[in-house]
């Protein structure tokens, strides 16, 4: 079983976000970067669990510059066998999908996993695009994944419920919460990660179809208005007359 896990390098969830003075770029100075949680906790860990029971190899692929290598090494420390960094700036979902598809197309992966979305750009796009470029089926928002022979059984979220599907390999899947429990790298894994192969692949020509022209911090709420706990009925009046919420 050859498994590929796509990982993104994202600011840690608790990061206080800021932008350049002209609001044209994210200010990365002093920001702690991590593996995108959906890529790590669910996609990568489930891939490792499958490898442990079925045998095989787990490769990490990442599109980004050399600044991402600490994040990639963390994926190796958790247990991936090897990693590939495609040396391109990940600034458009389609261009990222094109980079990954160009690398993947003749490698014979049985299973390609990604997180359901990144926590910085919240696009939820690369997995589906990659599936289209590779002409593979795509199962989104998977919460359970089991493999038997060359068939995957997947439970995934759909509008208004969940669905169980069967699909022959290869396929692309996006992982949602529930696929696996988080793993913390141990010292042996961290030591081993230093010597695991991390190959840098040059970028191919790709089509950048979108770009971000400016950012704006979300407006905070105005001061919280407190209501006396002895008179919660005042809340209902405020919700009706002031907030017009009911």
């Amino acid at each position: 079983m050859k498994i590929l896990v796509c990982i993104s390098n994202v600011p840690d969830t608790t990061t206080k976000i800021s932008f350049s003075s002209d609001n044209s770029a994210f200010n990365a100075a002093g920001v702690q970067f991590v593996i995108n949680p959906y890529d790590e906790w669910y996609a990568l860990v489930r891939a490792l669990e499958l490898k442990e029971t079925l045998g095989g190899n787990v490769t990490i692929v990442h599109v980004g510059g050399p600044e991402s290598e600490a994040t990639i090494r963390k994926g190796l420390a958790i247990g991936a066998d090897d990693a590939v960094r495609i040396d391109a700036e990940p600034n458009d979902a389609f261009a990222v999908a094109e980079q990954i598809s160009a690398y993947v197309k003749d490698k014979g992966f049985d299973l390609i996993l990604a997180g359901k979305e990144t926590i910085n750009y919240n696009g939820s796009m690369v997995g589906a695009m990659l599936a289209e470029l590779l002409n593979m089926p795509f199962i989104s928002m998977a919460t359970k994944l089991d493999i038997s022979g060359t068939t995957a059984t997947i439970e995934h979220d759909i509008d208004g419920g969940t669905e169980v599907v069967e699909c022959s390999l290869p396929l692309v899947l996006s992982a949602n919460k529930g696929m696996a429990e988080a793993r913390i790298p141990n010292m042996r894994g961290i030591m081993a990660a230093r010597t695991k192969p991390l190959t840098v692949v040059p970028a191919v020509a790709a089509d950048k179809l979108t770009s971000i022209s400016s950012y704006e911090l979300a407006k905070g709420r105005t001061e919280c208005k407190f209501i006396d706990a002895a008179h919660p009925e005042q809340l209902i009046d405020l919700l009706h007359n002031e907030a017009k919420a009911i």
Binding site: P11, T13, F19, Y38, F94, I119, N120, Y121, N122, G123, S124, M125, V126, G127, A128, M129, L130, A131, E132, L133, P137, F138, I139, S140, T153, D157, I158, D159, G160, G161, T162, E163, V164, V165, E166, L171, K177, G178, D207, L209, S211, S213, S214, Y215, E216, A218, G220, R221, C224, K225, F226, A229, P232, E233, L235, I236, L239, A243, A245, I246
Partner: protein, 323 residues
């Protein structure tokens, strides 16, 4: 040239998110001096599509489309877009939209903005569209450079306006002979609750402060009186006090209701990421230092077990006086 909008039927009606998308598409069409064509699978009363602004409705016809299989559906929408000479395609960014819209974007080499929260600023052939980034902590303006453009809308971010328009409805036969998807649907489990959480206008949510699943009756009663959906925080779902589909937050469902009432939830940043798009937030917590109060519009500091039953009575009185 036209604007194509993918729409869906749920529980025998056009989905609200689909009407949001048709409205959005018709505002774009007006600026581009063209019209909206809606595509849909299945049968229902389709008059609201015309009222929302569609001039044409194409009912996509092929037996393979019964499962909303991504490969088939992408090909079907592509064929409809081609027949309608659509340069802009609109989806709702719900689960189906997240599966199909980027796949279609890759097929058409169309630039896509997924989860838009504003109308596009149209300048010549360039669209600039606002979307939430950093899990709601910021917004970004995305420019789409390609000739074909796809926008999917964050649900509950746009009002629905129904006018007097009518749409011409016709069947559109889709040819899927060349595609054989290996995906087979084995089982579909629909959530049985009456209100679908991501679509709900009002949400009552509770967390560890409720102390145990046996205390949820008052939360459910408040939700019922308000006509709200129920939700919960992550620890509560992880401890199996409540089903996982109720978990809102960064790793659960992201919601943007008109009103979000959080009871006994401290307001961890991961929880806020899933609810900070709510228009009005009410926080009820016994700890006046709970961080959630900083993100709330209204707060009550006190014991939920005393406050919630009083709120239920207050809502009943309110309803009695406003009918």
């Amino acid at each position: 040239m036209s604007v194509l909008v993918y729409t869906e039927i749920a529980k025998g009606k056009i989905k609200k998110a689909s009407l949001e998308a048709v409205n959005y598409g018709s505002r774009i069409a007006a600026q581009m001096n063209t019209t909206v064509t809606a595509v849909i699978i299945g049968d229902a009363d389709l008059t609201d599509l015309g009222k929302a602004g569609a001039k044409k409705v194409l009912k996509l016809k092929n037996d393979k489309l019964s499962d909303l299989n991504g490969q088939y559906l992408t090909a079907a929408i592509e064929q409809a877009a081609s027949a309608e000479n659509a340069s802009v395609i609109i989806f709702s960014s719900d689960f189906t939209g997240k599966e199909i819209a980027p796949r279609l974007a890759a097929k058409l080499k169309a630039g896509i903005v997924a989860g838009a929260v504003g109308d596009p600023v149209i300048s010549g052939d360039s669209f600039t569209v606002k979307k939430n980034v950093f899990s709601g902590k910021a917004t970004a303006m995305y420019s789409i450079h390609s000739a074909k453009k796809i926008i999917s809308l964050l649900p509950n971010s746009f009002p629905v306006t129904l006018g007097e328009g009518t749409a011409e409805v016709s069947d559109f036969a889709v040819n899927l002979d060349s595609i054989n998807s290996p995906v087979k649907v084995k089982e579909v489990k629909k959530v049985t609750s009456e209100l679908n959480l991501p679509d709900a206008e009002l949400v009552v949510s509770a967390g560890r402060g409720m102390k145990g699943p046996e205390n949820w009756a008052m939360v459910e009663e408040l939700a019922k009186e308000l006509g709200a959906a129920t939700a919960c925080s992550r620890p509560v779902a992880d401890m199996h006090w409540r089903p996982h589909h109720e978990h809102v937050g960064q790793t659960g469902v992201a919601i943007r209701p008109n009103l979000y009432i959080a009871i006994g939830i401290s307001g961890a940043i991961q929880h806020l990421a899933g609810v900070n798009g709510s228009k009005t937030i009410v926080v009820i917590n016994s700890d006046k230092e709970a961080p959630f109060f900083k993100s709330a519009d209204y707060g009550i500091v006190g014991d939920a077990f005393e406050i919630v039953p009083k709120l239920v009575e207050a809502v009943k009185n309110f309803k009695a006086n406003h009918n």
